[in-house]
Assembly symmetry: C2
Homo-oligomer: 407 residues x 2
DNA sequence: TTTGTTAGTAAAGGTCACTAACAAACAAAA
DNA sequence: TTTTGTTTGTTAGTGACCTTTACTAACAAA
């Protein structure tokens, strides 16, 4: 690896950069500048943690509204101009923030120096392993704007071959990066624990696979791995305008979901939050599922199942009835969740030609019928606006949160 | 009010005590020493916030394991002995911590001075407004040990009369306090927002009632109000051995629940989290509910409904069948919630002669049948161990959390 | 008596954000 | 044009906080 490559491949954020350019060195540990990182259950807090929290706040403010001056930030965040200047000084040194020049509009006082996140100074790599037959990945800037895409056919590929395929597409993406890589985010199907170990992903034949560790060693970069539907919820929250109490349901080969409760991602007692595909819906039977039960949500909502039913439909009315039934079943299954968590939003992700129409309308109707209007009156049931990139974007959010504390 | 009374009634925790003894002064604002309080969305963090967080950690450690020395605390919390000594100095000055004497067991080195929370130095007042015909309340020490109880018949009492009744029982409890009162916690039925305003409590005829503000003014004490089932979940978490991902379902006149997700209480987008009584269960109809729908969870699980059905049962088998059906319906309704949140525990609260038996067994069976064993394999479905005091204890937890940051 | 260990305190040092004060740069009024 | 007032960003000094280092007190074991 040449020096330039090392330069490009290694995030310049950490002060330990120089030590990490060796091919077999240890990758940068994920910097938990997010406050949440410091305040995990029963962790002491030092002034330096306050500093990283405030630093993350500044970055967040710059993320959300571009074109802020130091004084603007001071007002926004609540710190003094002095402290903001100090923090911004650090951030500029780390090349995370840049000065855009003086504010042009005419008003009294010294003209302000406009600042912004260095949106193109770093890139993020996002990987989507959720499709059955192909892995997808992208290089994005810090905005989530896709700069480069890669796809890889993985039909029938499982086990360690699938790991190799993941490493291969990651390698290609890393090679395509035009700026230092802040980190790598991976959305994997199955159950993924907090350490990025895939506890179980039947489709890929993975069990207790420490994917984060493997990829991090290979790429010499900070890597974060999480469940695909879960990070889709993250993406919707950050880039799709999702609220603080939200559920994202993803219909594909199977059915999964991700939950944001009180602004926080839900992980669950066994890292299996969102796994609603094999919850039985209703009390009137249903088709047999691969899991052995009858009438699982997946038998109603999985895309192959819907397509199979639609294949027998001859009229438009039949087609609509099939889609409405799928939506109804989704409504029946999610009504207790929406009620118990008092969710404000249910967002759907999947092929829009099937989902965005009678299905989603029926789901909304059913949800309203089966819950108390007083509690869920302003419930919004809608399609995601992020389309097929939602997993990749979720991976980006994961990296931004993990490395910069931005969310 | 005499000086002694003022002394007793006012928490000695705050440095502003002297200013708050006036009959019509403003009560101590709730001290948010908890870190969560300081780190609400987008709040800057100063070194002093770190201090209060660490202080709360020390208090928590002392709460959980009594008989710790300063050096033990240093090891436990991760701060140095010097810092712990400093924090403990403050806490002893505020009478929140006491020295128990030197450790007696024989080991090398200087014998340690044992410390403990001053468990009887302060009391907490808890109020339970959840019963239809009577308000209940208790004075407890910081352990949650009940020192004194009060009950008040409120059959048919609603609206402002119910507020007066609440104030009356609170007054009696305050008069019975034998130590400075740390704060007052109130568990109210209905929907209660973060400011302690009862947005809606049909049974009591309350709507947009700022109960926390009213009681706080009357009693000149910090008051916190929340939904009854929600704080029951808090109680179960702190005093009942509940885990970090847990649901507590409370069957009474109606059906409510409280959720702990990732160790945090769930509030919901409209402060209505846990309201599952009027979620429809199954797809095969059911009795008409007061809300107009058919087959709401309440029509299956509310105690009056169960009792009405049992009145017609002649044999033990019939009785058991009725209870099993109620449990099944509970299982059907909660299965999607347990699956989506990957809960580790479902705890029931209510009259144990009805719930603790076929009902809970059927609920557990149904939950396991309708979810994926792989995800909820170690799901525990059980009765609360806290009995009728659960709401009062929840109120205590709320005060401990709000005033001391302990949870 | 000596040695080693543990508890708690004291002093010094570094980090962090604050207040106060100031120069630079501008608009608008005089 | 000069003066006044406003806004920005920086410098200097202060206080809060936790750490490291160093110390004394008190004990067990050899």
């Amino acid at each position: 690896m040449t020096t330039e490559e090392a330069q490009r491949r290694t995030s310049g954020v950490s002060a330990t950069t120089a030590a990490n350019t060796g091919e077999f060195g240890i990758a940068n540990p994920a910097r938990s500048t997010a406050w949440a990182g410091a305040v995990q259950a029963g962790a002491r807090v030092l002034p330096e943690h306050a500093r990283s929290h405030n630093r993350a706040l500044v970055l967040q403010a710059l993320f959300r509204a571009e074109g802020l001056s130091r004084a603007d930030l001071a007002r926004e965040v609540g710190l003094t101009r002095v402290t903001i200047s100090d923090l911004i000084g650090d951030l500029i040194n780390e090349n995370l923030v840049i000065e855009l020049g003086v504010r042009t509009d005419s008003r009294p006082g010294k003209p302000a120096t406009m600042l912004d996140i260095n949106r193109n100074g770093f890139v993020v790599v996002g990987l989507d392993l959720s499709f059955n037959s192909r892995f997808r990945g992208a290089v994005t800037n810090l905005d989530g704007t896709v700069l480069h895409r890669e796809e890889l056919d993985v039909t029938g590929v499982t086990g360690s071959e699938a790991v190799e395929a993941t490493a291969l597409i990651l390698e290609r993406l890393v090679a395509a990066a035009t700026a230092p890589i802040l980190g790598v985010g991976v959305g994997s199907p199955g159950i993924v624990d907090a350490t990025g170990t895939v506890l179980s992903a039947p489709n890929l034949g993975w069990k207790d696979l420490p994917l984060q560790q493997i990829l991090s060693m290979r790429a010499q970069l900070p890597v974060q791995v999480a469940n695909d539907a879960n990070i889709a919820a993250l993406a919707e929250r950050t880039f799709g305008g999702g609220g603080a109490d939200m559920m994202l349901v993803r219909a594909g080969r199977g059915v999964g979901s991700g939950l944001i409760v009180g602004g926080q991602q839900v992980y669950g007692s066994g890292s299996a939050a969102g796994e609603i595909g094999h919850v039985m819906v209703g009390t009137d039977g249903g088709d047999i599922c691969v899991c052995g039960k009858s009438g699982c949500l997946e038998t109603w909502l999985a895309i192959p199942r819907i397509e199979a039913r639609l294949a027998n439909a001859t009229t438009e009315a039949e087609r609509e009835s099939i889609l409405r039934e799928a939506g109804e079943r989704l409504g029946i299954a999610t009504a207790p969740i929406v009620g118990a968590l008092n969710l404000g939003e249910v967002v759907l992700s999947g092929p829009s030609e099937l989902i965005d129409g009678p299905l989603i309308a029926a789901a909304a109707d059913t949800l309203r019928d089966r819950t108390m209007a007083e509690f869920v009156g302003d419930l919004s049931v809608r399609m995601t606006t992020l389309g097929r990139d939602i997993i990749v974007l979720g991976a980006v959010v994961m990296v931004l949160t993990g490395q910069l504390g931005v969310y």
